[in-house]
Symmetry: C2
Subunit: 378 residues, 2 copies
Amino acid sequence: MASIGVVTPQSMHFDAPLPLRSGAALRDYTLVYETYGTLNAARSNAVLVCHALNASHHVAGHYAGQAQDAGWWDNLVGPGKPLDTDLLYVIGVNNPGSCFGSTGPMSPNPDAPGQPYGADFPVVTVEDWVDAQARLLDGLGITQLAAVIGGSLGGMQALAWTLRHPQRVRHCVAVATAPSLSAENIAFNEVARRAIVTDPDFHGGHYQRHGAVPKRGLRLARMIGHITYLSDDVMNTKFGRALRNGELSFSTQDVEFQIESYLRHQADKFAEYFDANTYLLITRALDYFDPAREAGGDLVRAFAPALNNRFLLVSFSTDWRFAPARSREIVKALVDNRIDVSYAEIDAPHGHDAFLLDDARYHGVLRAYFERVAAESR
Amino acid sequence: MASIGVVTPQSMHFDAPLPLRSGAALRDYTLVYETYGTLNAARSNAVLVCHALNASHHVAGHYAGQAQDAGWWDNLVGPGKPLDTDLLYVIGVNNPGSCFGSTGPMSPNPDAPGQPYGADFPVVTVEDWVDAQARLLDGLGITQLAAVIGGSLGGMQALAWTLRHPQRVRHCVAVATAPSLSAENIAFNEVARRAIVTDPDFHGGHYQRHGAVPKRGLRLARMIGHITYLSDDVMNTKFGRALRNGELSFSTQDVEFQIESYLRHQADKFAEYFDANTYLLITRALDYFDPAREAGGDLVRAFAPALNNRFLLVSFSTDWRFAPARSREIVKALVDNRIDVSYAEIDAPHGHDAFLLDDARYHGVLRAYFERVAAESR
């Protein structure tokens, strides 16, 4: 299947402040986004793609001269692909607080001329992102989405759309997600945050002013994250106990096993491009997402606003970060509300990362679902 | 049941170097140990207890004036307890490389007068520890152990006894252990080690010479370890998503959830007493343990030396660090060798930590097994 080809990011500026759940507000801000396919005359075929921790608005295609750097969901979005851009108008947007072009901690702080926000960037939540995305749709002249889709943290945003703006979306496709983080999920996030915050190069979050980057902390955060994205099985299959040099060297500090080499490599790459304050903000947004809490601890009641939305939930058998049981909690809450929901539990070995991979059964489910979405959106 | 009461650690010095698996040797060294109960006239009722990562020779009882600080397996070892010190002579020993009294990285380096070993302490393995323990038994005049027991890394030592000195032990009791670490296990160890090694206070492992302690790294290592000791279930039961102050404060750096507060507290405590070089050494010993590798990748063949030993394996249903499936691998290798083995899979909610806890079914199994050991040892 062909790629969407060369794409160009666009941006939209918003002068009105964005009120945030914390009570604070984000003053004027910019959102960077990309679109693929063509918005039909009825403006009824738009699909919004929400990104997870370290992804962005660059969902599909590639930038001119960078054919090797395809968007993060390029296997899913394009002409003839499950999210078929011959039929659907697909939008990717970078969330505020991120570090890929939209206003975030590395952007100038309007309250501190000449300085970046750094640690003073306000805490943003899944709900705040959804509100920002809704304003982008206003700007694009889209009243109602055919669908919103996301995996992991992106799935939380897709769910939140049906709770905050149910009349503005028809279908919600939430992949490898959860109605809230477990204590263990929060614990892993907390270790990653402590690694960053206690890095002497963090400088309380104002490292840019010090010309520093807390790379040690970012590396550790990425290693922890990476372990939780993979299943024990796939790690054993890919790396097992293979030694890097074929024999033991008896060292506590040097690389001995292939898995160590792999993790260090992933960590080094990540520390080169990701912003530490963004890591803190995004893991906190994950921690805070908890629609049941706002409905008195009742997930069924939380989904009451979504009565007229239709849902597809997808989970993966070996995902221990957002296990199938967590998706089933959502399915149950929807069923109890008599809301239209389909659920696919995909037997895949890749752990949480499976939502990004090109698995035939997984993509088959999405293709079938989006064929219906597209048919309804003509 | 009564505690063993006041106990006193003892020490034994060894002038002969200990040859190590790495090819290096540990020059003269001291082992600290404790004993509980009475060695019978036939010297046939001795049980050796092997410790795991952050434990020591202080298995049971308490030191004079410190009644609140019981040994780490005090619920198991004492008069009338499953490991009944009215019948058995129980020995706890601190392994070389540890930081609780036996020769380790904080001890004077004989090759660098006036300096501690620090990073120059040689890499020690499970097999090296077992050899050191065998020499302690020589010193105590014990030719054959009635049993060797350990949990987790201690279980690996118990297994290694039957492979290296099978004629010196009758029973092997290996709890919550594995025939080798999985790639995921190694990965978690590697993150912990990177946290320590990249702490600017680590100074390449010679932090004592710099008057420094890499506490940031130790804290992170402990947090990661702690998450893997607990089950997702028990974390949700104990902490769930409970907030520390009852309401959200919207902060990326302050404690928001109870689980964060708990982890930080555990981390702070650990960094006060544990040595960073010891952490590196002990996690490496875990990584390296792999009797199958030395038998051409064949775990069945690896256990051939243990033909006349008898085994009890115990695992816990919610232990995802050393899952029941890993114990079953050992059981299968023993059965294939026609070796006498009993196996108990305990349904317990506490994850890997269960091996330290007073669970009725678990302790019932150990009590029954050690009654037989004691009866045979009279």
